[in-house]
Amino acid sequence: MSAAPRHVVIVGRDADLWLTATALRAALGPAGVEVTTLELPSRLGPATAYATLPPIESLHARLGLYEAALLRSTDGSFSLGSNIVPSAGDPFFLAHGSYGAPIDGSDFFPFWVKARRHGLEARLEDFSPTAMAARHGRILFPDEQTETFGRTDYAYHLPAIAYASILKSHAARLGVTMHQAIGVEVKRAGGAIEAVVPDGGSPMTGDLFIDASGSEAVLIGPTAATRDWRQFFPGDRQLKARGARFTAVPAYADVRLSQNSWTALRASQTATYVVCSYRAEDQDDESAVAAATGASGLTLSDVVITPVSPAIRETAWDSNCVAIGSSACALDPLLDLDLHVVQLGIVHLLSLFPTSIAAEAERAEYNRITRSLFERLRDFQSAVYFLTGVSRAAPESLLHKVATFRARSVIAPMEDETFSPDQWRALFAGLGLIPEGWPPAIETVPTEQMKEGFRRILGFVKNKVLDQPNHDHYLAEIGAGGTA
């Protein structure tokens, strides 16, 4: 039996690299694990911001990164979700929180479907405190009242250069050993990595190697194949750019869909970050800039255009190399889930941190669980393209979810979901998929009781939202948002 890995070498760049390095060092440093990084040149430009998902808060807390300080030093902002504007149909809000609360102990959503059939006007998002707070320029934090109501989470928009730099200094404070290189050569013995050699440097050996180099996949690329997901995702080009900040900083992303392309706007305290996804066969890069300018209504600067090619690594952990981030799973840019992919990789590597160099059992489990997690993220994104008719292809697991939802208002429960049933339903319903039926048991609830439930929830949402601080004011209060 070989000993547990004592020395981890991470090759990569940007947040993928620094989040992994800090998390591993913070968790395993006390157990005597050394972390060495080999940093490759950054791919970040001033036009890149990360969107996060709510679980990042607990990872930050474990690392000792505090919210107010983080937002101050990155000029970041809060995000309560995404306002999605379909090319046909009404905008809808995809919230980091729940929609409605149980009525007579039964799930809320089917009641809403039933009431809509009987002429209810209220939108689904009207029943979500998180969505309504966002729409009213406010921010919403969980408290005792909201805990009994349901989930009210939040996330951030973080300008990427500043965020990566904070993580990097944190890594240094935690005792991560750092090296830099323009390129790297990989020495292999059998299937395993023996050492990585920075250009012009001496070989760096380790027990476990992590590839956090993004889509370049410098370590794992040559040995582990990828499975193409392009059939589900039409966009093959991505434009990133930056414009002026809005007068009031929206606590949400704005995602504007049009035929075969979309434009997303995310606000920080100092700028508005624009992402546009499109197909090379529809428009060249120049007209894409024009389109993004039109869609955002902003004068854009720092434009960067890159190809997009969604795919998953067949084995994210291959021999003694673990891919974390886009090197393991390159998602479509919709909803900007890349940092979440990094976090999922980190969390599961930590809970399966190998007890031996061979690590066969851990590797098999890591590959099983990350594949499942990434496929559920893929399904969520794929739903947007499939239900708007932009893509004719969808994964089987999504087709099943859509069919069950259409028939019965329920989300087929699956393991390893990032998004809650409420979020799936808000997405499906927002994109115009209104179920034909609902679980019959809700018919035992008298109509008057159902209406009373609606009134109670709407009343709660209204009062709660009015109680909440304005997003700009709150940023100012925590010492950020000086320009507000």
Binding site: L28, S351, R368, T404, R406, G437
Partner: protein, 515 residues
């Protein structure tokens, strides 16, 4: 359910009135709106019921609560006792025993599971108690004690739950009275033939031997092993799991109380050709020998069974034949099967009634909307079948684990079980536990991480290592916390009444004759 055509009903016909049939009927009349669903149950007094499972899992309490049953009344009516888990004797090696409890082992600290902290202390030569000692349910079971759990999550008495041992021959009639009082119609008689739609293949009605015709829109097959509608009429294929679970016979016999008395747990003792159960009810002890007919004769099984009873047998042992496995799907066209008609897994972990309950829960959520034209909806059937697969496969793997992880050398059955190829899903779980003590965990499907842990450790698995994150904690502190946790358990158990005392004060059946 859709709103238009509210004057129409869906006519639900349940075939078979055993535990599955009456649980289905009771749950449906309770949960489905009567104006849209009518429920008829067909049963024949001439057909005996198998009466699956005298031992249950904690989930049954939720079922009874959903119906609004009074626990004490239900326990009196079914001569029930409390169950905190299952004791496995001689499964790993003769002489070894462990309990699979309904409850947690220790508590996680700092995001690291308890078993890793425990294991680390052992490796550092600290004097920890055996793993089983850190379970409140195990400690109470060993002391033959019982009290209802505490809802306060800070209390040590919140770390367990409980199920029942009951007379399932009394449960079905209890539910029948309850369901019929609330509008379920019962038809007495035997089915002779099935009427199908020649185009769609859907079932239109059941022809009775009496000549009556029972029309329906949706049919629920609760006809037991015979699976008259799903297997017989609709021809859904049988998936055989005999190669993993070779036992195919059971001899069952009740006996008088005696021996260990009213233990708050089921006992399963490994035998040469299978295993023997012992289930204490208020008025008797249920016993049975589940065996492989390839290895021993019925006579030999009967002899073994009768030689290992607490008290005098109350009847001749009754023989049951079965094949482990399940139907390829449980819902086809306008017919869903619940209980033995959909599959059979031996009662090693008391899962039969749970499988009925899980199928009922899913079926109620997925029942077709009223209106005959909606009764066949493959989308609803697909989801029902997918959910059922998850349950069956996870339970299957858990059952196989008990058999595969044995060290009983030189007995043909046990030698075979140790060497047989396992499902990949189970092989993967065992490899991960062996390597690092990480037990399976999933959100959907039966058996928690603690359940897996109890069996993996109980059957002699010894992980090579523990989670490296455990090394980041202060050893002294962890040692103190473990000792403190155990002393809280011991103090709480000392203060509990015996199961006998508790039952006497709570739910004793009037004609209870137990010692």
């Amino acid at each position: 359910m859709a709103s238009n055509g509210s004057d129409r009903q869906l006519r639900v016909v349940i075939l078979g009135g055993g535990t599955a049939g009456w649980m289905t009927a009771a749950a449906m009349v309770r949960r489905l709106p009567g104006e849209f669903y009518s429920i008829i149950l067909i049963e024949s007094d001439e057909i005996g019921i198998v009466g699956v499972g005298e031992a249950t899992l904690p989930h049954i309490k939720q079922f009874n609560d959903m119906l609004g049953l009074d626990e004490a009344e239900f326990m009196r009516a079914t001569r029930a006792t409390f169950k905190l888990g299952i004791e496995f004797r001689d499964w790993d090696l003769p002489g070894e025993r462990y309990i699979h409890p309904f409850g947690a082992f220790g508590e996680p600290w700092g995001g690291v599971q308890f078993q890793h902290h425990w294991r680390r202390l052992r490796e550092h030569g600290r004097g920890t108690a055996p793993f089983q000692a850190y379970s409140m349910a195990v400690a109470a079971a060993r002391a033959s004690k019982f009290a209802l759990p505490d809802e306060d999550p800070k209390s040590i008495r919140s770390t367990y739950s409980y199920a029942y041992h009951f007379d399932s021959g009394l449960y079905a009639p209890f539910l029948r009275d309850w369901a019929m009082a609330r509008g379920v119609s019962r038809v007495e008689g035997r089915m002779a033939a099935v009427e199908r739609d020649s185009e769609s293949g859907a079932i239109l009605g059941l022809m009775m031997q009496s000549g009556d015709r029972i029309p329906g829109d949706f049919f629920i097959d609760c006809s037991g092993f015979r699976s008259l509608l799903l297997g017989g009429e609709l021809g859904v294929a049988w998936e055989d799991w005999h190669h993993w679970l070779p036992c195919d016979r059971a001899l069952a016999v009740p006996c008088d109380h005696g021996g260990d008395g009213l233990t708050p747990y089921t006992r399963s003792t490994a035998r040469k050709a299978g295993w023997q159960w012992r289930i204490p009810l208020q008025h008797r002890i249920g016993n049975g020998y589940i065996f492989s007919s390839d290895l021993i004769s019925e006579d030999e099984a009967r002899e073994t069974l009768l030689a290992n009873l607490d008290g005098a047998p109350q009847s001749e042992p009754r023989l049951l034949r079965f094949t482990p496995g399940r139907r390829a799907v449980s819902w086809s066209r306008n017919c869903a099967a619940v209980g033995l008609a959909s599959g059979f897994l031996e009662p090693l972990e008391s899962t039969s009634i749970f499988l009925i309950q899980a199928a009922i829960t899913d079926l109620i959520n997925l029942m077709p909307s009223p209106g005959p034209e909606r009764a066949v909806d493959p989308r609803l059937a697909d989801e029902f079948n997918r959910l059922g697969n998850v349950q069956y496969e996870r339970i299957r793997d858990f059952l196989i684990l008990h058999y595969a992880a044995n060290r009983r050398q030189g007995e043909p059955l046990w030698d075979y079980l140790r060497a047989m190829p396992l499902p990949d899903s189970l092989e993967h779980k065992m490899a991960l536990f062996r390597a690092r003590g990480t037990a399976p965990e999933y959100q959907f499907g039966l058996f928690s991480r603690d359940s897996w842990l109890s069996v993996l450790l109980g059957q002699g698995f010894s992980p090579q290592r523990y989670d490296p994150l455990a090394d980041t904690f202060d050893l002294e502190l962890v040692d103190t916390q473990l000792a403190d946790f155990k002393s809280r358990i011991d103090a709480a158990v000392a203060a509990m009444p015996s199961q006998r005392e508790f039952i006497d004060g709570y739910c004793a059946a009037s004609e209870s004759v137990a010692a």
